[in-house]
Symmetry: C2
């Protein structure tokens, strides 16, 4: 029984991972059950044994895609003590460490879900909030340590980092080269430097 | 004959306008022929008499949506002599003068078309290029007139304006308020000021 449950859990996880790549590339409407069947090698019944609906599968697939992308963007961060330097590494990760095929799940799913898919929309909203909270937390740490200027608007900075990266990714996807992303990283580097405070000894 | 052709042209234009709003809100896959029939009151045959395919209709609908959005973003620009002030007005227009229902057609259609719709993708690419060219042109005018610092990277500035606006619009759509857009406008105002040059008398 336990082995069977574990096998079922593995199949479920495999469906989520395969579906995440398809949803992220083709969008909700463009992701057919046939394409998930082809990717997983499962029959329709074998997929819907694990999920009540396409909505449920899409919601879990987004969570999976976002966890993969977020983890890549956090690589090396723990090793960097200074908060401004940590934010700069985060920005660099966004460019160099691709997530899933199809680009940033937040960008894709936000556009895809803002008409008529409330479950998915709530997931996107939570993902954005988590990203903002992470960035504000790093800035707060810097303010407390005296290495970030205390008069800043932390949420405005968090939104500018997120917006500049996502907007540049949009341009880079249209142009199929990373020029705009490189420009955004350079801009954010000097933008973040302007908030650095050198603690007085 | 001429009156009939003109009536046909009007019907065609009406289909494009109605379809543009639906494509912009629901995306390519989510825009069904049924929804265009409902919006126009036409039968399927009455629609496809004017368009060879959904691809053709979607491409014309994007051009229409982009022309509406672009025109709104250019309001008042001709009356402003100073290029930096003109760019600031353009940025303000982006926030205050909504385009079609569903938000910025560039953002929506770029995400929607980058897998498997080359005609639509080419339209998006051309729209972005047009926007970049317009911004670079204003900066060039400022450099020639001595009111913009000559050492700037014009394309990097154009891309930063576009990226910051589109990224902030993404956040604003997820949050369903214009907070991030307001922050982006404030940021771009001071960003643009930093490129202003006061001509020496």
């Amino acid at each position: 029984m336990a082995a069977e449950a574990s096998k079922g859990g593995k199949t479920r996880q495999r469906i989520v991972a395969e579906a995440a790549a398809i949803f992220n590339q083709r969008g909700y409407e463009g992701c057919s059950i046939q394409s998930i069947m082809a990717a997983t090698g499962l029959e329709k019944g074998g997929i819907y044994r694990h999920f009540e609906s396409k909505e449920e599968l899409a919601a879990e697939a987004f969570d999976y895609a976002w966890s993969v992308a977020s983890a890549k963007r956090r690589i090396h961060l723990d090793a960097i003590a200074n908060p401004i330097d940590r934010l700069k590494q985060h920005v660099a990760n966004f460019m160099t460490r691709g997530g899933l095929p199809g680009g940033c799940p937040l960008l894709n799913t936000a556009i895809d879900s803002d008409n008529g898919n409330p479950v998915l929309r709530a997931k996107v909203r939570a993902a954005l909030r988590g990203w903002q909270t992470m960035l504000v937390g790093i800035l707060d740490e810097g303010i407390a340590a005296g290495s970030v200027r205390p008069e800043i608007d932390r949420m405005a900075i968090a939104n500018h980092i997120i917006g500049a990266l996502e907007g540049a990714m949009l341009i880079s996807r249209i142009e199929r080269n990373d020029g705009a992303l490189r420009q955004a990283v350079a801009h954010l580097d000097s933008y973040l430097e302007s908030h650095r405070r050198i603690p007085t000894a």
